[in-house]
């Protein structure tokens, strides 16, 4: 079968794949995205859509801060604001004894030359989040952080990727990848696609794709759980997280409250099914009621667990394949990839078009995970 001539095949129609497709197509590349179910079916559609630099691993901070600049201009990039508001993200110390955790973190980022985080006292915290229980002690804040709307973001990235010329094939699950001369032939059942470069952005299924080109990259998975409540009157603007308790709490434009924070459900990656663990999830509900006592009577409308790849050091893999020339990987965002979406697309375009990037991705090689596996 001879399809259209392609420069790059992107495997995975999540936000990362759309972003890479968008950047490549805008640089004149002919791109196809192969998505096994439909765009945004898994982690991207299940995301709480936090746009956060606060408390990020130092290795990720350079690209994360650069991504923040892109978020500020997101409308010029994808033609829609994506529901992004920068009302800030705060990490709250409930007890005085938690405050040193924040101070230590602040010192670490300052030493690394980053001044975006700020320690605020209880008064400033309550001024910013008046509904918060007054027992809280202090907080670390990034005032320019925020959150977006995952579905609006998906729609905007999809629309602009397609407008730039990307072809998206949904219901197109990749079954094999073989070399074909200097190209790669990617098979999805009966269908075949051929291109000199292939990008593996297959999220929780990236390990299988990597193995198709001979890269044995150890990869775990996450099934991060989320709660959405019924709509309520405006309660808070910043996104609130906690020291020592897993919680991320925010209110959407629609008025619903979104409760996440990385508590884990169960996933069956093969079957593409995830399951909520309500015993575990009750901890999130407890934390929310402690912080915002008026929320106890709110009805939970739905819960879910989103499936995503997790690496052993919780840093992503972004870079060329160690073994297969022309193949690139970007996956393993370990539950905090949403904010990086615009920058990862730009990085992939750099790598494929220019053969390298000035952006700091040295910590994200696939080799580091493979070596660790060899040592262990």
């Amino acid at each position: 079968m001879s399809g259209p001539v392609l420069d790059t095949i992107i495997i995975g129609g999540g936000l990362m794949g759309l972003s890479a497709g968008l950047h490549l197509a805008r640089s004149g590349k002919r791109v196809a995205i192969l998505e096994k179910s439909w765009v945004g079916r898994h982690a991207s559609g299940a995301s709480a859509a936090g746009v956060r630099t606060l408390n990020r691993a130092l290795e990720e901070l350079p690209i994360s801060l650069e991504a923040m600049d892109m978020w500020r201009n997101i409308e010029t990039i994808v033609g829609d604001g994506c529901g992004f508001h920068s009302h800030g993200q705060v990490m709250v110390a409930e007890k005085r004894s938690d405050v040193p955790v924040l101070e230590k973190r602040l010192a670490k980022t300052r030493n690394a030359g980053c001044g975006h985080e700020e320690l605020i006292d209880r008064d400033e915290l309550l001024r910013l989040v008046p509904a918060l229980s007054p027992y809280c002690a202090a907080a670390l804040i990034v005032r320019t952080d925020g959150a977006a709307d995952p579905h609006r973001t998906l729609r905007a990235f999809r629309r602009s990727a397609e407008a730039a010329g990307v072809t998206i094939h949904e219901g197109c699950g990749v079954t094999a990848i073989d070399p074909l001369g200097s190209d790669w032939r990617v098979r999805a059942g009966e269908r075949e696609f051929v291109a000199p470069t292939v990008v593996n952005m297959a999220g929780a299924w990236a390990k299988t794709i990597a193995a198709m080109v001979g890269d044995d990259i150890p990869l775990g998975h996450k099934a991060s759980m989320m709660i959405v409540t019924e709509r309520v009157a405006p309660l808070l603007k910043p996104v609130v997280s906690l020291v020592g308790r897993p919680l991320s709490f925010k209110q959407t434009d629609q008025g619903t409250l979104v409760i996440g924070g990385g508590l884990q459900g169960r996933a069956d990656i093969e079957a593409e099914q995830s399951f909520v663990d309500f015993m575990e999830l009750s901890r999130s509900a407890r934390a929310v009621i402690d912080l915002f006592p008026t929320t106890g009577s709110l009805r939970i409308v739905r819960t879910w667990a989103g499936m995503e790849a997790k690496t052993s050091d919780l840093l992503p893999v972004i870079g060329p394949s160690p073994r297969a020339a022309g193949v690139f990987h970007a996956f393993g965002f370990s539950g905090h990839g949403f904010q990086l979406v615009p920058i990862v697309g730009a990085i992939m375009a750099d790598l494929i078009i220019a053969g390298g990037t000035r952006k700091q991705i040295a910590s994200f090689t696939a080799e580091r995970l493979m070596q660790r596996q060899a040592v262990a």
């Binding site: 901890r283 009621i289 939970i300 819960t303």
Partner: protein, 466 residues
């Protein structure tokens, strides 16, 4: 977590109560969980307090029949938790319940879902206006507190319940401004073929039904073959417009409009649990895929009653009994031979109780606008999404209902798509020339009944995070 019963029954209606009685008879430890404050389900709602009042006379013999089943259930020795909501199920099986503001989970050897039916979602222009409600909701008011509307009501719909309620309302002293029969006249031809079977199998029911129809035609303004209805008003219902299949159209003053287009099995619990479902073409609805005892594709989870297929109270009792017998046999209380022997007469009675169904299904098959409403109609009232918005999404490819949900927010509100799931599937199917079972429904995300944050927090109150 509590030490679980042999059989946990969800729902204390005809199927649930009958199952409890039979399971107890075979020595099983039974717990019945029900949302209402007293046993009876929808059909026999409030029967214990209403049985000896004039209300029982108004509601008729089929209602009074329930008193005996409730008495036997009360005497059965089954545990009974009224006012308790089951909001999540897991294989095992395990049920999560909320009662008195606290959530907990119960492991059982088997679970029987006797959760009945819901009224078929029925969006039409103006259906969300105050003054418009379903016949089922109106009947709940009549059963639980004897309430009848002050104003004359318009009734628009099909199905036995519309007729029955109209008769009950007249007996109770209510006034009916008019009855719009929305069953397509073409249904008669199909129903005619089932007529003999229905008369032979259920002569009493057939005579009763014709009696209702005749009484109604004598007493109230009766307009047949109505194809479209529209509720009109600013803050509340003011006028009602209808068009018949013959092109006759009229707009009348109306303050109250009760609508009904039949009932469909409640499938949220089995969808959430991941059970296989089938398409019941005769009843234009999905239903859990069950074996002859009512067991779902998830081991030790059973469904009985109208939740399995719409069959009415008598059939529900028998389905409940069959499921209970199977659970008892699985628990070793009956041998294979004993099971077959005890089940045979129940199956015979079940067959008789279902004899009228093919006729009713054909006679009362809803008109097409019930499934595919006009574009201006609100489809999802929780998130205020119109049919036009859904169709707009359909134009963008062959979207899955879950994609439509993500893009339009239809089905994301507190009812979790109970109202709009069928309509979205029907709209997509009509637009793309597919069938509803091919399009499918929304994925159901837990909890399938809302619980509060405080209830969930209390599920594991002992856990303190360091």
């Amino acid at each position: 977590m509590t030490g679980g019963p042999d059989l946990l029954i969800v729902g204390a209606g005809p199927a649930g109560m009958s199952a409890a009685v039979v399971a107890r008879r075979h020595g099983l430890d039974v717990l019945v969980v029900d949302e209402q404050s007293a046993p009876g389900g929808q059909i026999w709602r409030n029967i214990e307090t209403a049985a000896d009042t004039s209300r029982a006379g108004i509601l008729g013999k089929a209602y009074s029949d329930g008193a005996d089943v409730v008495r036997r259930f009360r005497a059965s020795g089954a545990g009974y938790l009224p006012g308790a909501r089951v909001w999540h199920l897991e294989p095992g099986p395990r049920a999560f319940i909320a009662q008195n503001g606290v959530a907990r989970c119960i492991d059982a050897n088997a679970i029987l879902l006797a959760t009945g039916a819901q009224e078929r979602p029925l969006p039409f222009p103006g259906w969300t206006l105050p003054g418009v409600m379903t016949v089922g909701a109106a009947q709940i008011l009549l059963k639980s507190s004897g309430q009848i509307p002050d104003e004359p009501v318009w009734i628009a719909g099909t199905g036995p319940l519309s007729l029955l309620y109209a008769i009950q309302l007249l007996k109770a002293g209510g006034r009916i401004a008019g009855f719009l029969d929305t069953a397509p006249s073409a249904n008669l031809a199909g129903a005619f073929r089932e007529l003999a079977g229905a008369f032979l199998g259920a002569p009493g029911d057939m005579l009763k039904g014709f009696g209702w129809l005749m009484a109604l035609r004598r007493q109230v303004r009766f307009i047949g073959n109505v194809k479209e209805i529209e509720a009109i008003g600013n803050e509340a219902l003011e006028r009602l417009r209808y068009i018949t299949a013959n092109g006759r159209s009229a707009t009348v003053d109306a303050r109250l409009l009760f609508v009904h287009e039949g009932i469909v099995p409640t499938i949220h619990p089995t969808l959430a649990l991941g059970c296989k479902h089938i398409w019941n073409a005769a009843q234009d609805s999905f239903a859990p895929d069950l074996d002859t005892w009512g067991e779902t594709s998830v081991s030790d989870v059973f469904v009985a009653g109208d939740g399995a297929r719409i069959g009415g109270a008598q059939a529900a009792c028998h389905l409940g009994e069959l499921a209970a017998l199977r659970v008892a046999a699985k628990a070793g209380r009956l041998s294979r031979a004993q099971l077959a022997a005890v089940a045979a007469p129940v199956r015979k009675r079940l067959k008789a109780a279902l004899a009228i169904r093919p006729f009713l299904d054909r006679l009362y098959r809803p008109r097409s606008a019930v499934f595919v409403p006009p574009e201006a109609t609100l489809v999802c009232r929780c998130e205020e999404v119109s049919a036009a918005r859904i169709l707009e999404q359909a134009a963008a490819g062959r979207p899955d209902p879950n994609q439509v949900k993500a893009f339009t927010r239809a089905g994301m509100g507190p009812c979790q798509g109970r109202q709009c799931s069928y309509t979205v599937a029907s709209l997509l199917a009509a637009k793309e020339g597919r069938t509803v079972p091919d399009v499918g429904l929304y994925r159901v995300r837990p909890p399938f009944k809302p619980i509060t944050l405080a209830e969930l927090a209390a599920l594991d109150a002992g856990a303190v995070i360091p």
